[in-house]
């Protein structure tokens, strides 16, 4: 009797593992793929706090795939393929797709308050308290997160040349 019970238990555990583990790893892979398809600006225009939460929401079916303005149509296409959903146009409520821009600090106005530096998700602004700040052109992703905190309104977005 005990033997049968043990075998039954083992079979149950085995069955559970077989049914669960590939699904979770597949979901994990899907999450990774979706996350790396997102532009990693952490801009929050998708109504989530960053790319990772948005990717999670897509995987769990909570968010639509058309909420990422920096990625635009190209990203939607990739997301549609990865999530197995229909391609649809970008949701204008989240913003419009623009050509890549980068931030520029008007250095004559900058007071060195460090607020933009704290806001930048990719450490693309160089400077320290009471010193002039400057944007590292190569690192800026154009997320616009530095614009709102600036008390001097001295940050503007510039089109990328060449």
């Amino acid at each position: 009797m005990l033997g049968i019970l043990i075998i039954l238990l083992l079979a149950l555990i085995g069955g559970f593992l077989v049914s669960i583990s590939p699904a979770t790893t597949a979901q994990q892979n899907k999450f990774e793929d979706i996350l790396s398809a997102l532009p990693q600006t952490q801009c929050g225009k998708c109504n989530y706090s960053g790319c990772r939460p948005y990717a999670e929401a897509i995987v769990h079916g909570e968010a639509d795939i058309n909420q990422c303005p920096p990625g635009g149509a190209e990203t939607i296409k990739v997301l549609a393929k990865l999530s197995g959903r229909q391609i649809k146009p970008l949701n204008p409520e989240n913003g419009l797709q623009k050509a890549t821009q980068i931030a520029l600090i008007d250095e004559s106005l900058c007071i060195g308050c460090v607020k933009c530096i704290n806001a930048c998700p990719v450490d693309a602004i160089l400077g320290t308290a009471k010193q002039m700040h400057s944007v590292l052109v190569k690192e800026c992703t154009g997320c616009e997160l530095c614009i709102a905190p600036c008390p001097m309104d001295c940050i503007s977005m510039q089109a990328v040349t060449a």
């Binding site: 790396s36 990693q40 600006t41 690192e139």
Partner: protein
């Protein structure tokens, strides 16, 4: 004279798959090399007689020399001169900026009037940095150092000399020559192939350079063979170049181990992978390089220029360019690099009409020149004027499969087309888009006039752009995660310090006592040392 660039279909016999087995396997010369055939391809009317019988003309100095910093595949060179500098012919004006890069030299003496941008001859939609020289008419040479005995110097030194001379593949792709040589030293090379198979219609610059500079080519071949220590060495020309064959044969001695082979004239036999297949029967693996199967290939022009570079110390300053098509006097020109296309066309009596276009490169693979002030660069083999600019309208694909029959890379052009148009990058990649050599055979036979290669080039550019973007995403993600990690660490670190202070406070006993003991021990040690010194 009114030559139509795209020969009418009835003048061309398209070789279907069933006929392929008939392609000759006859035995050539004393080395008994078996000639194989490559899949697909076309037999085209060549129109080479327009230009290949006339002696090449040395083009007079133009008013302006425009030298782009990117005339090769790889990273662009870096300018080492300033606006206003005076330079001499052969002086280095830009240096290599990496391993896959070569220097650029002033092709005549004069003053640098600007360092600006011009449309890139490879892709006119982008601007490329260039150095503009105003010739002073003296054509005065920079000091050059010839190396007489090229066969006794080390292969590494030869490679360095060739690199310093700005040598790139002159067949059209422009891959830096020293890289091929260097890879050749790193691995054992079975065969060095010198490619004189000029398969595109109209172009005869290789034919002409062989006829006029055969001794340079043969000596250059010996030199390159020495540079990579190749076991076998083959110079290949096409069957419809008998004069070139004879010219080369004259300079090859019986005790040379250089084979001279003439291969059936069939487009694109001069393509690197196709010629390897024809001469050795081997196939370059998908995504691989010839060196992976022990083969290195150089163009005849590269062999001649490399020989000049080493034995006379002259860097790569000029090249043979075929100017043909709908011009008064089609012929080959010896053109200084940086000479505007317009100036070359003037030499052959070109008059501008309305409905015509200028092509840089051959009719199959060349690109339209939108602005004829664009310069001739290291890879420009030909300038053609077409009288037939407007192609027939593009019609839908009818799935006839003619393109599949002629594809020399054994790809599926119509499927590639469908996916390329739909911008499905994964599928086009899976169909080996990057093994497409852009020979244009598929577009040539297409009854619906679909410019297939245009779509493939576009898809290749799109994929490269997408990958650069994706790499940018990856980079941003890395920085974001690194920042989060750092912020977390700072937070934890502060806590740690706080904890330590707590434990080190005197009323906590043990830790403070330990500290006192430690200090005491140190004081003792120093005292002992002092005593020792006194003793």
């Amino acid at each position: 004279m009114n030559y139509v660039l795209r020969p009418a279909p009835w003048t061309v016999s398209v070789c279907k798959r069933s006929q392929l087995s008939q392609v000759s396997t006859e035995v050539h010369n004393r080395f008994n090399r078996e000639i194989h055939s490559f899949p697909g391809g076309l037999e085209l009317k060549t129109y080479k007689e327009l230009s290949n019988d006339k002696e090449s003309l040395i083009t007079p100095l133009p008013d302006k020399i425009i030298l782009p910093l990117q005339q090769h595949i790889g990273s662009p060179s870096e300018a080492i001169v300033k606006k206003g500098d005076t330079v001499l012919k052969g002086q280095k004006i830009a240096q290599a900026s990496g391993y896959i890069s070569v220097p650029v030299h002033a092709s005549t003496s004069g003053k640098i009037i600007d360092i600006g941008t011009c449309p890139a001859p490879q892709d006119q939609s982008i601007q490329t940095p260039c150095i503009i020289i105003e010739p002073d008419g003296e054509d005065a040479w920079f000091d050059i150092e010839p190396v007489e005995d090229y066969l006794s110097i080390e292969p590494e030194i030869l490679q360095r000399l060739i690199c310093e001379a700005g040598m790139v593949g002159m067949g059209g792709a422009g891959f830096p020559a020293h890289v091929k040589l260097n890879e050749g030293t790193a691995t054992a090379v079975d065969t060095l192939i010198i490619n004189g198979v000029e398969c595109e219609p109209y172009i005869s610059c290789d034919d002409r350079i062989i006829r006029e500079k055969a001794n340079y080519i043969v000596s250059g071949t010996r030199m390159l063979q020495h540079a990579i220590q190749a076991e076998h060495c083959v110079i290949a020309v096409e069957e419809d170049m008998p004069e070139a064959f004879a010219a080369l044969n004259e300079f090859i001695n019986d005790n040379d181990d250089i084979e001279l082979v003439s291969v059936p004239a069939r487009y694109p036999a001069g393509g690197e992978k196709q010629l390897i297949k024809v001469l050795t029967g081997k196939e370059v693996p998908a995504g691989g390089l010839p060196i992976h199967i022990g083969i290195v290939m150089h163009n005849v022009g590269t062999a001649a220029a490399a020989f000049r570079a080493v034995t006379r110390g002259e860097p790569l300053l000029s090249r043979y360019v075929t100017v043909s098509g709908n011009v008064e006097n089609p012929r080959n020109l010896q053109v200084l690099l940086g000479t505007p296309v317009e100036h070359c066309l003037k030499q052959v009596g070109y008059q501008r009409h309305n409905n015509e276009a200028v092509i840089m490169g051959g009719p199959m693979m060349g690109k339209y020149v939108h602005d004829i002030s664009m310069p001739v660069i290291k890879t420009t083999n030909s300038i053609l004027v077409t009288s037939e600019f407007n192609r027939d309208r593009e019609k839908p694909c009818i799935g006839c499969g003619d393109c599949v029959d002629v594809c020399p890379a054994k790809l599926l052009p119509q499927e590639l087309f469908a996916y390329a148009r739909a911008k499905d990058f994964d599928e086009t990649r899976a169909l080996h888009l990057f093994d497409c050599i852009e020979c244009g055979c598929c577009a040539y036979v297409c009854p619906s006039n679909i410019p297939l290669v245009k779509y493939y080039r576009q898809a290749k550019n799109d994929i490269t752009a997408y990958e650069t973007k994706q790499a940018g995403y990856e980079h941003a993600r890395h920085r974001f995660e690194a920042r989060n990690e750092r912020l977390e660490r700072i937070e934890n670190h502060n806590d740690d310090r706080f904890d330590k202070k707590k434990t080190l406070s005197p009323d906590q006993g043990t830790v403070a006592d330990d500290k006192q003991a430690y200090i005491q021990a140190a004081v003792e040690r120093i005292k002992q040392k002092r005593n020792k010194k006194k003793d």
